[in-house]
């Protein structure tokens, strides 16, 4: 479930509020609020769309977790999904890295 909006990096662009398919976030006067965490379906798409790498979705789908933001940064986990799918400039080549055709038919 969504656990972190990093106040240091969030620019209050509200993209996460728009793109979350289950409407977990609310707009505020400042940075968005995780208003309905239990509605999070752990799809990681808010993270993928966050241009500032300010969001972190914990992989635990059924229960909230305590997350140490400093440790996430230390482990470079913020933005790791975006980098892996090539949605940042330095890894754009990964957008065409799909090798599923080597895996089908196993």
């Amino acid at each position: 479930m969504i656990e972190v909006i990093d106040t240091e990096h969030c620019t209050a662009c509200d993209i996460c509020v728009s793109v979350c398919p289950t409407n977990v976030f609310d707009k505020t006067d400042g940075i968005p609020r995780i208003a309905r965490q239990s509605d999070c379906q752990t799809c990681f798409l808010c993270e993928l769309y966050c241009p500032e790498d300010a969001l972190f979705v914990s992989p635990f789908a059924d229960a909230p977790q305590t997350v140490d933001v400093a440790a996430l940064k230390e482990a470079t986990l913020l933005g790791s999904y975006r980098r892996a799918v090539g949605w940042v400039e330095e890894s754009r080549h990964l957008r065409a890295a799909d090798r599923s055709y080597r895996l089908f038919g196993h």
Binding site: V17, S18, V19, C20, P21, T22, N23, D39, Q41, T42, C43, F44, L45, L48, Y49, V57, S58, P59, F60, A61, D62, L77, S80, Y81, A84, V85, W87, L94, R95, A96, A97, D98, R99, S100, Y101, R102, L103, F104, H106
Partner: protein, 542 residues
């Protein structure tokens, strides 16, 4: 040349609601919905697309990666692709539909390439088009939908259909949940592309898929088919949401003590896993993947590794607990019954596409993976959009037409007690999640479950509409409940095992049931047998 499409017209935005006038309204903004919207717009229709969440991230595809049933147009390869599926699907498929879906999927995939989808090349430089990355695909589809002139309403779940005095669909009404008001779209045709129903099981990307489109279509009189093929369960880490069953074909499965579970397998042995999970935890380890396979997996499906990388598990060298999450009709083959090549339903002006529609025509009683469902979404979306635009054109002017709201459960005043969506959804889950009820079916258990579900329906259908904030949750729960009742009535009617439908009391396939099961109804759920298309042709030839 197609006409340059005009935009749907915003008629008013008085306090509390916004009204649009369109030719075609598409409900749902996943693959099927976006293909339908683009296809209708290409025919010159003014199109509105309303998505419950965000068109581009909503649905089972956007969050995942999916295979696509893309086969080069070489007769032997097409023949093999069709033949390979017939036994799995229980011989219910229709060759004519399989062939036309293969043709259409080939065309739509090549269209995606022309639009700039970054398909990979293999080592010999040949493009590979049998897989799509969900986020990339759906980001592109949103862009193309907007470029086609379609008006997209995000976070705008539909609540009910509008129908005119002759029973012809006339639009829909719903909520704008981030604006706290309502929308109405007056339209000459409606495409239901709201996906299947996964019962809020948190299988990847599927919690928006609660059967909402089924419910509002049923209220307008639509029929369903193959709803007994609705018990697909996908493997995921026990704690996580990422289901990618393909990768578990490289797994070994062990019990608490670390002993290999005999017969457990992602393919052909998933029922063994279900039985083992009833006794205790089951662990997987992808220890049969060599170094090259591991690399391909990482490159192909980065999201698969998020639960592992973020918990410090190496899935290739360490055991991790798994579970089976219900995918319901999302990876089943049941859905709205379509009656012709344009994906029209039994209700005039109402079309169905993607997982909201039955996939029995190409899959019979089993899908197994995204491949056929993805091909079906592209193809049926294209046809339904085209068909809806044509219907709208033939209908002509509708000025002065009266439209009636067809929604009932959770939307009207009743016995004074408001519908409790959250509690109802949990009660439905208690009937459809357990393996002993849904995975392994048996007349007695199905009957008892149906009695409880029918009682829930009686209660829900006489309840008051909940508050505005709880309206959507109430309708979602009611849709799940209706879906469960069609599923289990159909499962009772099929007294055999075929495709994914397995009956403990009828373990074999029985050719007396080589037909489709049609179902429908809300207060009274009915079923009937319907012959296969091939049987109808044979009769006509006699």
């Amino acid at each position: 040349m197609t006409n340059s499409p005009g935009r749907a017209e915003k008629l008013s935005s008085s306090a509390g609601s916004v009204v649009y006038d369109a030719d075609v309204l598409v409900l749902g903004g996943g693959p099927a919905g976006t293909w339908a919207a683009i296809s209708a717009a290409e025919q010159g229709a003014r199109v509105v697309l309303a998505d419950k969440g965000f068109c581009g991230t909503s649905g089972a595809t956007a969050a995942a990666g999916t295979g696509v049933w893309y086969v080069d147009p070489v007769p032997e390869r097409r023949e093999a692709a069709m033949a390979s599926r017939e036994k799995l699907g229980g011989y219910l498929q229709d060759r004519r539909w399989m062939a036309r879906v293969l043709d259409r999927t080939y065309a739509q995939s090549n269209q995606l390439a022309d639009w700039g989808y970054p398909y990979p090349d293999d080592d010999d430089g040949r493009p590979q088009r049998n897989s799509l990355q969900g986020p990339e695909y759906m980001r592109l589809m949103r862009k193309r939908t907007k470029q086609a002139g379609v008006t997209i309403l995000d976070h705008s779940p539909a609540l009910e259909l509008l129908v005119d005095g002759n029973g012809v669909v006339a639009g829909a009404a719903g909520l704008r949940r981030q604006k706290g008001d309502r929308w109405v779209v007056n339209a000459k045709a409606v495409v239901i592309a709201t996906g299947g129903c996964a019962f809020l099981s948190k299988t990847l990307g599927s919690n928006v898929l609660t059967g909402d489109g089924y419910l509002l279509a049923a209220e307008a009189g639509a029929e369903f088919t193959s709803m007994e093929f609705s018990n697909a369960y996908a493997i995921s880490p026990a704690f996580g949401s990422v289901t990618k069953t393909l990768f578990y074909s490289w797994a070994s499965f062990t019990d608490e003590q670390g002993s290999v579970i005999p017969g457990a397998s992602s393919k052909g042995g998933r029922s063994v896993i279900a039985r083992a999970l009833r006794k205790g935890p089951v662990y997987a380890q992808l220890d049969q993947a060599d170094a090259a396979t591991q690399r391909h997996m990482r490159a192909s499906q980065p999201n698969f590794f998020l639960p592992f990388d973020r918990t410090g598990i190496d899935p290739f060298t360490q055991r991790f607990p798994i579970t089976l999450r219900l995918e319901g009709t999302v990876r089943g083959t049941g859905g709205l019954r379509i009656i012709d090549d344009s994906c029209a339903t039994t209700v005039p002006g109402l079309y169905a596409a993607g997982d909201a529609a039955t996939r029995e025509l190409i899959c019979g009683g089993f899908t197994g993976g995204g491949s056929h469902n993805a091909a079906w979404a592209m193809s049926s979306g294209y046809w339904a959009g085209h068909g809806a635009a044509e219907f709208a054109r033939q209908l002509g002017t509708t000025i002065g037409r009266q439209a009636f709201r067809r929604g009932a459960v959770g939307l009207r005043s009743g016995n004074g007690r408001p519908l409790q969506g959250g509690a109802l959804a949990r009660s439905v889950q208690d009937e459809v999640f357990p393996y002993e009820l849904n995975y392994f079916r048996e007349a007695g258990r199905l009957g008892e479950s149906l009695a409880r579900l029918d009682a829930l329906w009686l209660d829900a259908s006489t309840a008051d509409a909940p508050s505005e904030q709880e309206l959507l949750r109430g309708r979602e729960a009611a849709a799940m409940l209706a879906t469960a009742r069609w599923m289990y009535r159909s499962a009772l009617a099929r007294q055999e095992s075929r495709g994914m439908h397995r009956r403990d009391d009828y373990p074999g396939q029985d050719d007396r049931y080589l037909h489709f099961v049609t179902t429908g109804g809300l207060d009274e759920v009915w079923t009937s047998a319907r012959p296969l298309a091939s049987a109808q042709y044979a009769e006509a030839a006699e």
